[in-house]
């Protein structure tokens, strides 16, 4: 692993954030399996190093756009467990007062412009956010998270063209988890993914998305270059989703072999591998990491209990927020 951050506090924060995502998703999956959660949700487990490696290179004022598989981005950008679980359960105290749910959590106080349930739907939004920053003289950078499946959407090519023409401070972060819903990515994507960005003259990079330090190292470099007006950039992050397309996609051997899943779990888990590195380097000992894991699992469990008890929005809120007030 590359030596991106040399500060123990930063290392532990990255570890902590990855564990927070995993714990959040484990709880969300249990909520689904025990029929306590309305609807479906899409698990980020396995991809933690992508969201954390990138978001740890951002300031609170930097913006992200997220996807239907968005809990990881949301946590990594600083969101609170209680408000997130409340949103998943449709409760009044949720980030969106229960109006968005799993696929639409927005947390503008941390620069999260929202998850998006349309595959590729937020590519324009991210690019527009970068245009705002540049036009209004702000130094914030926008990261547009999307999956390999979304590279099939035409919108990506329209906005990358404009971002390149106008030198916008946006980073297109393609999380290539190998599957476009229930189809192998090599069946839906011809040619090279980074080559798509390079065709527009955008510098594009491919990185091991399971290596949080490699991701963070690259993200720090590109974010700094964006602030200097050298954007846009494109990153393809090779990663893996442990669950199916969504929590209900359990019998999935028809499109993904169990051996392959086992290989990633065993040898390429971003949290396990980072823990091994941290202990091997003598930065922390295993006992300390175990304590962190226990603390976070307890936090997640108590946030779930809080959200289960929290109240639903009053029915009078149903037609609230259709339109914003104009003074």
């Amino acid at each position: 692993m590359t030596d991106a951050k040399t500060n123990t506090e930063d290392y532990l924060r990255m570890y902590r954030q990855m564990v927070r995502i995993r714990s959040f998703e484990d709880q969300a999956n249990q909520l689904y399996l025990s029929a306590k959660m309305p609807g479906l949700t899409h698990m980020y487990s396995g991809e933690e190093a992508v969201a954390v490696g990138i978001c740890e290179a951002l300031k609170v004022t930097d913006k992200i756009t997220s996807t239907h598989r968005g809990h990881g981005h949301c946590v990594a950008k600083g969101a609170d467990f209680k408000q997130m679980f409340c949103e998943l359960l449709g409760k009044e105290e949720g980030y969106c007062r229960g109006k968005g749910g799993s696929m639409h959590i927005a947390d503008q106080s941390n620069g999260n412009l929202g998850a998006n349930a349309i595959v590729g739907g937020s590519m324009g939004i991210a690019t527009g956010s970068a245009l705002s920053a540049k036009r209004l003289g702000r130094d914030d950078v926008t990261v547009c998270f999307f999956g390999d499946g979304a590279t099939a959407q035409g919108l990506l090519y329209e906005v990358m063209n404009m971002a390149a023409l106008w030198s916008l401070p946006v980073i297109y972060a393609c999380e290539n988890n190998g599957y476009s819903e229930y189809t192998r990515t090599d069946e839906i994507a011809a040619g090279s993914i980074v080559g798509r960005a390079e065709a527009f003259g955008i510098e594009a990079f491919k990185v091991d998305g399971q290596d949080v330090l490699a991701v963070n190292d690259l993200a720090q470099t590109l974010v700094a270059r964006c602030r200097k007006g050298e954007g846009p950039f494109f990153i393809e992050l090779e990663t893996y989703r442990y669950h199916g397309h969504h929590v209900g996609d359990i019998n999935r051997e028809y499109y993904r072999p169990k051996d392959e899943e086992k290989e990633w779990h065993t040898n390429r888990d971003p949290i396990t591998n980072f823990a091994k590195w941290l202990t091997a380097e003598g930065i922390v000992d295993q006992a300390e990491l175990d304590t962190i894991q226990t603390e976070i699992k307890t936090d997640a469990a108590s946030a779930v209990a809080y959200a289960l008890d929290a109240k639903y929005p009053d029915v009078s809120e149903v037609d609230m927020h259709v339109f914003a007030e104009t003074p």
Partner: protein, 330 residues
């Protein structure tokens, strides 16, 4: 008062607002040096520069999406969509993103953008450059829809739209760009959801939108010569819709024809007629009649195209039937 064209009124509204608020920018195809094919934005790039008058590639979903993201992050974009027909290209960004963001975020995120586009047939442009598609977007909660009927409304509604904190779609009739009207210099704000009684009358109410207000006014002239007194109402915005003014008029006249250039089925005329049935049924002396564009793709040939849209003579003929208590059978 001075008279200016609808095109100049739009240009003036944009320029005045851009001088007032640095966060406003204009974006679209050929909006800068070319000033759009209709020469509506001419001169703006010279005053505001290419930083604020932004020419885009021919990529409607792309620049619409960019405008949505910019609006969510402190800008107030004005999007120029060259033809109303191209709205189908941007439906995801307009209807799934812009319209829903405020609601889905529980009121945390705003999308203050204006989408200016056009409508209207009889310009010999055939089926993909002649549609009036406002009803399609009016169906989506979260979008406000303005339909100026003259240069006066074009300026006043646009300035109000730019200051609104929501996505607003403005449909301008492209045949009216060179029509002149009295328009005050400087500040002119027309509130949304307030209909304008263009002409008072006692026998029948004619509700018209956009250029159909002129059609209604001409029909009212024809009817006046025959002793029929028609009241003409211009809703000015269809979302929000001022049913109070329309209901009050219909309760007075007891008859109503609704005229709009969108296709007649499932459209604005159906919506207003239906609300009148629900809200003023016991005041009516006859059915509420809808007059929209025929339910055909707009044809090219002048011989065919001209019969697809409502005319003053057609409105007057329906008014006479209503006054005589005759049956309508579709």
């Amino acid at each position: 008062m001075r008279q200016i064209t609808l095109s100049t009124a739009v240009n003036e509204a944009i320029a005045e607002e851009m001088r007032r608020d640095e966060t406003i920018f204009l974006i679209g195809e050929d909006v800068a040096e070319a000033g759009t094919p209709f020469k509506i934005t001419s001169g703006l790039v010279e005053e505001f520069g290419t930083d604020r008058v932004i020419d885009t590639p021919i990529a409607e979903p792309g620049f619409m999406g960019i405008a949505v993201g910019a609006a969510m992050t402190g800008s107030r974009p004005i999007v120029d969509l060259m033809f109303g027909d191209f709205i189908f290209l941007i439906m995801d960004q307009l209807c799934n993103q812009a319209a829903k963001t405020h609601y889905m975020s529980g009121g945390k995120l705003n999308v203050p953008l204006v989408l200016r586009t056009n409508m209207g047939a009889t310009r010999r442009s055939a089926a993909q450059h002649s549609q009036s598609l406002h009803a399609i977007v009016a169906h989506i909660p979260g979008l406000k829809i303005a339909m100026p009927s003259s240069a006066f409304e074009a300026k006043g509604l646009l300035k109000t739209a730019i200051r609104d904190n929501n996505p607003v779609v403005i449909f301008e009739d492209k045949l009216m760009y060179q029509d002149k009207a009295d328009v005050p210099e400087g500040e002119l704000l027309i509130p949304f959801g307030v209909a304008n009684v263009k002409r008072e009358g006692s026998d029948i109410t004619l509700v018209g939108t956009s250029s159909m207000v002129q059609v209604a006014e001409k029909a009212a002239e024809i009817l006046a010569a025959e002793g029929i007194s028609a009241e003409v109402i211009d809703p000015r915005t269809i979302v929000p819709l001022d049913m109070d003014t329309i209901n009050a008029s219909v309760r007075k006249t007891s008859r109503c024809i609704v005229i709009d250039e969108g296709h007649q089925s499932f459209g604005v005329t159906s919506e207003i007629a239906s609300r009148l049935m629900e809200e003023s049924f016991y005041h009516l002396d006859g059915p509420v009649i809808r007059m929209g564009a025929m339910d055909v793709p707009i044809p090219f040939s002048p011989a065919l195209e001209d019969i697809t849209v409502p005319t003053p003579e057609g409105v007057a003929a329906n008014a006479r039937k209503l006054m005589a208590g005759e049956m309508f059978n579709g």
